[in-house]
């Protein structure tokens, strides 16, 4: 349960609130390297494929319109079981680095990501995390707060043998991190309320269920909380810099932002109707 989200949504139903865009002077900092490296192994497809990309960016001032890309870095993975190297290149010079040869992360193998940028070396490790298969997703009739939401009834079977964390991704922008603490081993079903102000039916959306580490779960929970965070008000909580699992081995103080993670992912397409 995310208390702040819950309360803010409820609060918005009381009284006539008046919203307006205001100009605020925000402080700025030296740009930081952002490493966004979340690999998804689509384990329920034959053959098994994976989405591997390492996106390198620089942070920008909050109200800047563009986020600079980093195209001059060296990026590779090391398979720590046999020390083989998997090279990545930025073919389109858009800051998105892809593996030179097709590559699918293996079960139980730890990989080390190395990024070299401006003569500084950044490193992180990850091992693929198991997920579960989506049993079914059907469109429901209910709504939640605004009355405009589309209900998605999602069900999947949790693996009883282990403590699982999942990241559910609905139509690219919407994320929900969950843990199996209250449904370990059960056929879990719940409703997700999808909202898109400009929706036009029929619309086909993708839903992904990824297995994630406990650390990534915590990281993502904070990330969601801070993107779209309310400053001020009774339900604000103090935000802070969101450190991931990547370290700068050359210059510790110049820490990067972002995360290196490998998950198993199951995908589901659904056509939403009115």
């Amino acid at each position: 349960m995310n208390k702040i989200f819950l309360l803010s949504v409820l609060m918005s139903f009381f009284f006539i609130r008046c919203e307006k865009v205001i100009d605020i002077e925000v402080p700025s900092i030296e740009p930081k390297l952002i490493i966004d490296a979340s690999f998804e192994v689509l384990f329920d497809q034959t053959p098994v494929t994976s989405n591997n990309s390492v996106k390198l960016r620089l942070s920008a001032d909050y109200f800047d319109d563009t986020i600079p890309v980093v195209t001059d870095a060296t990026v590779f993975l090391t398979n720590l079981s046999d020390n083989s190297i998997i090279s990545f290149t930025d073919e389109n010079t858009d800051g998105d680095y892809k593996s030179v040869d097709s590559f699918t992360p293996l079960d139980g193998v730890a990989y080390e990501l190395t990024v070299i940028h401006n003569n500084e070396i950044y490193k992180a490790k990850a091992t693929k995390i198991k997920s579960s298969k989506i049993t079914s997703i059907v469109q429901g009739e209910k709504t939640l707060f605004s009355g405009e939401e589309v209900e998605l009834k999602i069900s999947f079977k949790d693996d009883e043998a282990m403590k699982n964390h999942y990241l559910i991704n609905v139509d690219r922008y919407n994320y929900l991190p969950i843990e199996d603490r209250y449904f370990n081993g059960s056929d879990y079903n719940f409703s997700y309320f999808y909202e898109d102000e400009n929706i036009e039916f029929p619309k086909t959306i993708d839903i992904k269920l990824s297995g994630i580490t406990q650390e990534y779960f915590t990281y993502f929970r904070i990330l969601i909380g801070q993107s779209g965070q309310n400053a001020g008000g009774p339900f604000q909580s103090a935000p802070s810099s969101l450190l991931g699992n990547i370290i700068n081995t050359t210059n510790e103080a110049n820490f990067p932002l972002g995360y290196f993670h490998i998950s198993e992912t199951d995908t589901f397409k659904i056509e939403l109707v009115e």
């Binding site: 965070q229 400053a231 001020g232 008000g233």
Partner: protein
């Protein structure tokens, strides 16, 4: 253990209780003539002796004077004074009945000396409000509100509109002890803080202690809000009520046995579907509260009270989401006079706070809460005119339910889980003396001894090196440790125990009849912590007791003040400076999840807090124009240092603003009685904006735009300043005079110039333009209101 302490108290008492043959005692109770309600804080003044006393919370007074014949003036604000001659040659029991000043201003108002005693008493940092004042203050939607009224006083702020709780002298909202007829109330707000839980019709007297807190009170650091409910009219049956935009109130009171016993039952309910857009009839949102009281006066020596309070908030979005929470209080009190000098009150109190949630779309039900039983025995001993003692004992047994989750339907897939219940007992004994050392110097001193015992629970985690929170030096973040074992206890086992001596001291030095200087020191211990990392508490926050991993909060507060009354108390000026130092104020590691966390110790960091400031209160107490002007200049900060050198703590181990730090806080309240028919009231409030955090940069991860926040400038930005003006007009139709049915209309405008005060600023990406925006939300613009009140 308890009996030893009690004996100690009594021994101490009798060793100093020396009686003089030349003195006699006059004692009794002061009532309102109309309804036989006892009156709190009435002053009885003997001009020949320059001596006086005030009535206690039950209207009782006792004063011992040399034999003789004296004049006594009985004064109470808003009532006609009585002057009587007393022949004091033997013990006298004398009750007084005061008559309320009528609305008519043509009659001569007797000048009262009410404030004179206040100048002399060492008690400082106290503000009082009466029900009448509270009802006149203009408020949003015309809903008379105790807490919203308190915020107009110096040293009291809140996190803004729609924020629950209040902050006193830079203290947190969980540091206020809120007592309703001596019972602890845990949640003071309805609807997330838009309204407070106290029905203004039922309230007799409200007192807020901000400092110099007598040793009678303990358990919270920052303030004591002591609220007394009416007893009920024991002369006649009366109905009082009001119809407002948000809620309606009805209060019935009357004698059970005339002049001896009375009852009171009051209810308040908001309209269903309050504020919810009616797009769906299945939605609901409402609150109600119910107060009742029975009072039986056996004789002058024995008086019994049974009072109850139930309050609840309910709202639901169809069946998908249902949220309920509220307080229940049941309280039995027995006033007994052991002698004309020794007043006692025994209270047995049950208090409960419940929070429940049904989330059908994820398939579970949740409830959490706190239950406590309190037994306390308080004595007030009027030994002689220069020396009065208060002493007593209290024991509070608490059960904490941090949460229980169960599936709400058979197919939900949720597995039930119960978080470990916690148990504790808080024992306290105190003694407090009011001592007149000379005509100019008066002191009040006392000590409170408190013991907090954490009782056995089913499971208590054990961590390596006793460290539930770890610091990861590689990734530079705090994280929860995994428990290495779990201890289990019998309920009667003691897991941890804390003892604290809490000295209290205050003095007043009278410069002349109208002027005094006061100083005070108080130490307080608080054993309960509200787990909340938001700026103001939310209904689902849970209380947790001190124990193996969380230490009790301790406060030392120093205050000095200068008090001046002008023109016989027509005007008063109160200036105070305070400094507070708090140990063991907890804060949370980044990303801490406080809801349903069975290992809460793994997300808590221990720190400290401090606050200091200056308060000025200028009041006009008499005449057609009354009111006050309050200004507070203050600072409230927190420090959470790393436990070792290689840990940064929070904010790099530097002091940071608390979310309730308000540098400037200025308010004016004025009421003007134009004639019998019309009365006007106005407020103006100005406050420094709430401390907050603005992003210092942005980046993208997994298609999400994420703001970057700085780690070493926590709460250093500010929302825009808050200010607004409110007005109200009360109409008493002239025909009231001739009939039984008394009615009044209150018309109000909240936020007259429609200031868009920022409740929050949201930083997010606009999906359409893909640009980042800062969107300010204001809750109330200009809000007109009308309320109809009646009495018959």
């Amino acid at each position: 253990m308890m009996s030893v302490k009690t004996n100690f108290l009594f021994l101490f008492l009798f060793s100093i209780a020396v009686f003089s043959q030349e003195e006699q005692t006059i004692s009794g109770t002061v009532y309102d003539k109309n309804n036989n309600e006892t009156l709190i804080g009435v002053s009885l003044y003997f001009p020949e002796l320059n001596a006086g006393v005030t009535t206690n919370e039950y209207g009782f007074y006792s004063v011992t004077l040399p034999k003789g014949t004296y004049k006594v003036q009985v004064n109470y604000l808003g009532y006609y004074s009585i002057v009587e001659t007393i022949i004091l040659n033997k013990k006298i029991t004398k009750n007084f009945k005061l008559e309320e000043e009528s609305e008519s201003l043509d009659e001569i108002v007797i000048k009262s000396n009410i404030e004179k005693l206040n100048v002399k008493t060492p008690q400082m940092s106290v503000n009082r409000l009466t029900s009448a004042t509270i009802k006149q203050i203009p408020v949003v939607l015309g809903e008379a509100d105790i807490i919203k009224s308190l915020i107009l006083l110096p040293g009291v702020t809140s996190a803004g509109e729609g924020a629950s709780g209040f902050n006193v002298r830079g203290g947190a909202a969980d540091q206020n002890l809120i007592l309703l007829d001596e019972a602890v109330v845990f949640n003071s707000s309805h609807l997330f803080g838009f309204f407070s839980v106290f029905n203004p019709d039922v309230i007799k007297d409200v007192k807020l202690y901000k400092g110099g807190i007598p040793s009678k009170y303990g358990g919270r650091l920052s303030s004591v809000l002591d609220i007394y409910q009416k007893e009920g009219n024991s002369n006649d049956f009366k109905l009082t009520g009001g119809i407002g935009l948000v809620s309606s109130r009805l209060l019935a009171e009357g004698p059970i046995e005339k002049g001896k016993s009375s009852f009171l039952i009051g209810g308040r309910a908001s309209y269903a579907h309050l504020f919810l857009p009616l797009f769906n009839n299945e939605n609901k949102a409402y609150f109600y509260d119910l107060n009742s009281k029975i009072n039986y006066r056996f004789n002058d020596q024995n008086n019994l009270f049974l009072s109850t309070y139930f309050g609840k908030d309910v709202f639901g979005i169809s069946d998908n989401f249902v949220n309920k929470y509220g307080n229940s209080v049941v309280n039995l009190r027995w006033n007994h006079l052991y002698s004309d000098k020794l007043f006692s009150n025994l209270s047995i109190i049950y208090s409960d706070y419940f929070y429940g949630l049904i989330l059908d779309f994820v398939g579970f039900e949740w409830d959490s809460g706190i239950t406590n039983f309190n037994l306390k025995y308080d004595f007030k001993h009027y030994i002689n005119n220069d020396f009065k003692l208060s002493y007593g004992i209290s024991s509070i047994y608490s059960k904490f339910n941090p949460g229980k989750i169960v599936p709400n339907r058979p197919d939900s897939g949720i597995i039930a889980e119960k978080l470990t219940d916690k148990y504790a007992n808080e024992f306290a004994s105190y003694i407090d003396a009011e001592h007149t050392l000379s005509d100019k110097l008066r002191v009040q001193y006392g000590i409170r001894f408190s013991n907090f015992t954490r009782l056995g629970q089913d499971e208590l985690n054990v961590y390596k090196d006793n460290k539930p929170v770890l610091y990861d030096t590689e990734f530079k973040k705090y994280k929860a440790a995994e428990a290495i074992a779990s201890d289990s206890f019998k309920r009667s086992d003691v897991i941890s125990s804390f003892n604290n001596f809490e000295p209290r001291f205050s003095l007043s030095y009278t410069l002349d009849d109208q002027t005094s200087i006061k100083a005070s020191y108080n130490r307080m211990a608080q054993y309960l912590h509200l787990l909340s990392n938001t700026s103001s508490p939310a209904p689902l926050d849970v209380w947790t007791p001190s124990g193996k991993y969380i230490k009790p909060q301790l406060l030392d507060q120093f205050a000095i003040g200068y008090f001046k009354f002008l023109k016989d108390g027509d005007y008063s000026i109160e200036t105070e400076a305070f400094y507070k130092d708090i140990q063991n104020r907890i804060d949370y590691i980044n990303g801490a999840n406080l809801v349903a966390n069975n290992e809460i110790e793994t997300v808590i960091l221990n720190g400290k807090a401090r606050a200091y400031g200056l308060e000025i209160l200028v009041k006009k107490n008499q005449g057609k124009l009354k009111g006050w002007l309050a200004y507070t200049l203050s600072k409230s900060e927190q420090l959470t240092a790393g436990r070792t050198f290689n840990e940064p703590g929070i904010n790099n181990g530097e002091w940071y603003n608390t979310p309730y730090d308000k540098t400037h806080d200025f308010s004016i309240n004025a009421s003007y009685e134009l004639n019998k028919k019309w009365k006007f009231n106005t407020n103006f409030v100005f406050q420094t904006g709430q401390p907050t955090n603005y992003p210092v940069g942005q980046y993208e991860v997994q298609s999400l735009n994420v703001p970057i926040y700085n780690d070493n400038s926590r709460n250093s930005d500010r929302l825009p300043a808050y200010h607004r003006l409110d007005i109200s007009a009360t109409l008493n139709p002239e025909k009231n005079n001739k009939r039984k049915w008394q009615a009044e209309w209150v018309f109000g405008i909240y936020n007259v110039y429609g200031r868009q005060n920022a409740a929050s600023v949201n930083f997010s990406q606009n999906r359409e333009t893909s640009r980042n925006e800062a969107v300010q939300t204001a809750i109330f613009g200009l809000v007109p209101s009308v309320t109809y009140n009646f009495k018959f």
